[in-house]
Amino acid sequence: MSSAPQFFKHGPGSLTRLLFFVLLSILLMVEDTRLNYFPEIRHTVAVVIYPLQRIAHVPTNVYNALTEFFSSFHLIKENDFLKQRHLIDRKQLIQWQALEAENSHLRQLLGAVQRIETQAIIAEIMYFPRDPFNHKATLNKGSQHGIQPGQIVVDDKGVIGQITQTYLWSSELTLITDNGHAVPTQTVRNGLRSIVTGTGKNGELDVRYLSINSNIKLKDLLVTSGIDGVYPPGLPVAEIIMIERNPANPFAKITSQPIAGVDQNRQVLILSFMPPALETPPETSAVETTKSP
């Protein structure tokens, strides 16, 4: 339509524009899920949107401040309770310190790797995303506070999830209930190793790849094994709530329930856990070594 007068020209037609943007979205989706060449796109948009997130969080802050103000009338009672609690905990802590000293001494004698101490940063969940596909949450601490992808997030009872994406002042937490998130675990009762994966449903985790004759019972507690070098060992993860041993399948269908309040808390702890560095194998054997287990 080169003969059309200038007055009627409005740039490309709406269908052309739609096709362009749909194509751009598809490219972005492929880039985001498969390739991940440009993490900067996400980071830039996150910085733009950050002030809005803070403003949207103001009502919650006001509500929290109000409830804190009204609960301050019970402070004396709470203080008494906490003092008692502290005394009880104190006693356990002293025993624990003695045990820790003894443990590290025994480990030295055995020549085993020392247990690594973890440091924790308190963070607050800013909000949960809208669509029910992703079990994720946004935390109010980001790379400016020293948060790195891969760190573990716990509450007072057990593991909640793992940091998967960090922005400048906020970070993204993938919950253990997320479909596609796995935690290597051990049962407390007999040390049986297993892998706990999310199902995409609230309050339900799968325990995979355990054969039907494996020694696992209802109410068994699963804790992190620490074998992967990502999760610190010994954190409670889940409790077995259902076991289905069908002889037709090679594996038992085992369902468990997260110990931690995965979708209940506001305050969480981000652990910075530095796994013990693997000893570099000698030059000669390095050629033949394959992937580390």
Binding site: R17, F21, I26, T60, Y127, F128, R130, P132, K136, T138
Partner: protein
């Protein structure tokens, strides 16, 4: 109907700033930290605002702005980058090609057509999510379309009243 919606033809054309602020406020409402059933049942205010402006001021709000709002939602939602962007672009396009027909009706009569557009939008979001490897989240996912349908007349009314010029008592 007892509710008097402002007549679209009598309204002054909205300025770019007004559209901008309405989109920012819709984004704020979408970002409110909610949990559980409130989160699932919350109407998608950004989609409704995009629909309103693409129907009533199609020359001001193009597909590009819808795409940009979708990107914001994607990042804040921690969903796949481009998921909502594509859905909002298609919504803006459908609203644009239907805007002459939709403007014949008042906002209450527009509801049946709006709910179809909203459901189509959620189906697009659902399909892209499922293709990327998510499970079907259950039928309550579509609750947002129902609440969006109920919110539509309210949003149309509020935005219409805000756009309506104050009548000057001194004029004849």
């Amino acid at each position: 109907m007892s509710v008097n919606f402002p007549d679209p033809d009598a309204l002054i054309p909205a300025t770019g700033w007004f559209i901008f602020f309405s989109l920012v406020i819709a984004l704020l409402l979408n970002l409110l930290p909610l949990q559980g059933i409130y989160l699932i049942a919350r109407p998608d205010f950004v989609a409704l605002t995009i629909l309103y402006w693409s129907i009533n001021q199609p020359q001001h709000l193009g597909i590009s702005i819808a795409f940009l709002m979708g990107l914001f939602i994607d990042v804040s939602n921690a969903s796949i980058l481009g998921q909502h962007a594509m859905a909002y672009s298609i919504v803006a396009y459908i609203a644009f090609i239907l805007h002459r027909r939709l403007r014949i009706f008042n906002p209450l009569q527009q509801v049946p057509q709006i709910v179809l557009i909203l459901i189509l939008m959620q189906v697009i979001i659902l399909l892209t999510g499922v293709i990327a490897g998510a499970d079907f989240p259950g039928w309550h996912f579509f609750l947002a379309s129902v609440t969006g349908m109920l919110t539509w007349p309210i949003i149309s009314f509020i935005l219409g009243v805000l756009r309506n010029p104050k009548e000057d008592p001194n004029t004849i």
